[in-house]
Subunit: 339 residues, 2 copies
Amino acid sequence: MVHKKTQLKDIAREVGVSTATVSYVLNDHPMSARISEDVSARIRQTALDLNYQPNQIAKSLKTQKTYTIGLIVADIANPFSAHMARIIEDDAKKKGYTVIFGSSDENIDKAQNLINTMFNRQIDGLILAAVDKSQSQIADILKKGVPLVLIDRYFPMDQVSYVGIDNYGATYEAVELLIRNGRKRIGLISYHTELVHLSERNRGYLDALRDGGITADNALIKTISLHQIRQDVERSLAELLQAEPAVDAVLFTTNLLSINGLRYLYQQKVAIPEQLAVVAFDETDVYDFFPISITYVRQPLDELGRAASEVLISQMENKTEQAIQVNLKTTLVVGQSSG
Amino acid sequence: MVHKKTQLKDIAREVGVSTATVSYVLNDHPMSARISEDVSARIRQTALDLNYQPNQIAKSLKTQKTYTIGLIVADIANPFSAHMARIIEDDAKKKGYTVIFGSSDENIDKAQNLINTMFNRQIDGLILAAVDKSQSQIADILKKGVPLVLIDRYFPMDQVSYVGIDNYGATYEAVELLIRNGRKRIGLISYHTELVHLSERNRGYLDALRDGGITADNALIKTISLHQIRQDVERSLAELLQAEPAVDAVLFTTNLLSINGLRYLYQQKVAIPEQLAVVAFDETDVYDFFPISITYVRQPLDELGRAASEVLISQMENKTEQAIQVNLKTTLVVGQSSG
DNA sequence: CTGAAAGCGCTTACAG
DNA sequence: CTGAAAGCGCTTACAG
């Protein structure tokens, strides 16, 4: 026996008032201050008795607010994205918002598709891990006036809010450590992309080398295809391990690169740090399974997610025109793998 | 300069027809067959020119269909959930649905809160990883007539659709292998819960022992709190390792138990499989970092997610009254850790 | 072949 | 102190 959902008018009929009165009371509308205690109480009680649940769709159509935020990541199955999603979910829920999500697979058409779908659903704001070469996509969103916060991936546009890390500093610090530990032939495993946050990580690497008096060697800089990570990482590491003069350190610039790289180094029985010093990126479960502790760049994921949600929601609610850009510090967690 | 979104009536005015006609054409409504080619073409073109994006909220209010499905998992940050979420997202998107998600943290009140929120948003259906002792919560959903598919966690209610694995068979097979490999003192690390899918895993363990002619020893069965996994797993393993007579094998029943358990065994330098044979549950990144290959129960995550989405959507679209229960086979991936 | 009009379930300015 | 009525942006039976 499927019951029809109770509506405002059912309560109104039951209590003998108009739907307006019911709406005022149940929403604590200022107008409700003038409604008699008796009527208010009966409305509230009847709403409970009939298990009234407001139809958010109808509400949204009228108020032009859906209390929904969109979250577009590269892949929700990536622990980095999933962790962030969880933090955003919690902050959003606390403030009365629900999250709808989608995975772009780093593909600009899929991303556009998700953006369109979410806009059709009238999201109040969007948190976007933008894909490579998507400046104009971002500009389009801004033009629509929908609150937007870029996360993780930075684009040099000053009208857009952004929450990420100090990418340059993160790798600079890592390479500095390697140099201090006496390493001179330091390889880099990064993605083949124009994404600014990654090129900033590359730049940090290059500048740290220069400042450490080491001439960068292009043969030691490997760029990995986003779409065949494992294979590319393994090939690149194999090449690095055969370089002349020998490579004595390597830096990974993302979590997946780190996991795939460490797996290969482990399977090849490369002595870390004796033969090769390693600095990884992001926290992952696998570090605990290494004979030695792994040195890695820790991104403050909780703070990142929370900041993204907070910046977005404050923008949505205060109609702040001002874009806010947040660059959080990373922590270099120093273990034994860096020598 | 924020543009007002274009609406049906903008197109109607532009072309000089009614909104009804525009709606018929843009939705390929049967009625549109009778609309002249010329008018149709102009409507379509104008929609493009004005970059018309239908307001899904308005559409939903009228049609009583939101093309949204809810997904409630224990924790979206758990790789098991995140992986499933991704598969569900893909299948749902292919069929025109969007997913909103929430994490229950195994807490029945949080779950109820999420369910209410999702129902207020008029989701067309729900995929639910139900929490412990939530039978009446599930019954309430069924009473409302909202299409529902339980995932992962089974409840003995025949009116509800379910997609999961053969939990009993999964552990039965694992223990059978351990016995065949000569193990006699086999420990079990499982959760402290009444969740049926986990008690089924326990039952598979017990029956395999019995059928293998081994008397179960309650001291070897450890139940872990869902809320302090790491600590409990480590304490339990420490106890198992000191049992008399000595334990010679251990079986983990979930991915988090496996990761935490393996970490401890690794750190304690327990010889696997010589001192202790191990069978883990679910695929995880960490297995590759073990000196030997890990034997584990592989859940078909892709099939699980896809089946859940398919069963739900077919139920939503065909109004199938019939509940469908799917139990997928697991695969015992045999490595060296099981002896 | 096309349009006028009702209605989905709410909110809210306005009137009294 | 409370209600009648308009309207959010669509869809769709009905009429012509």
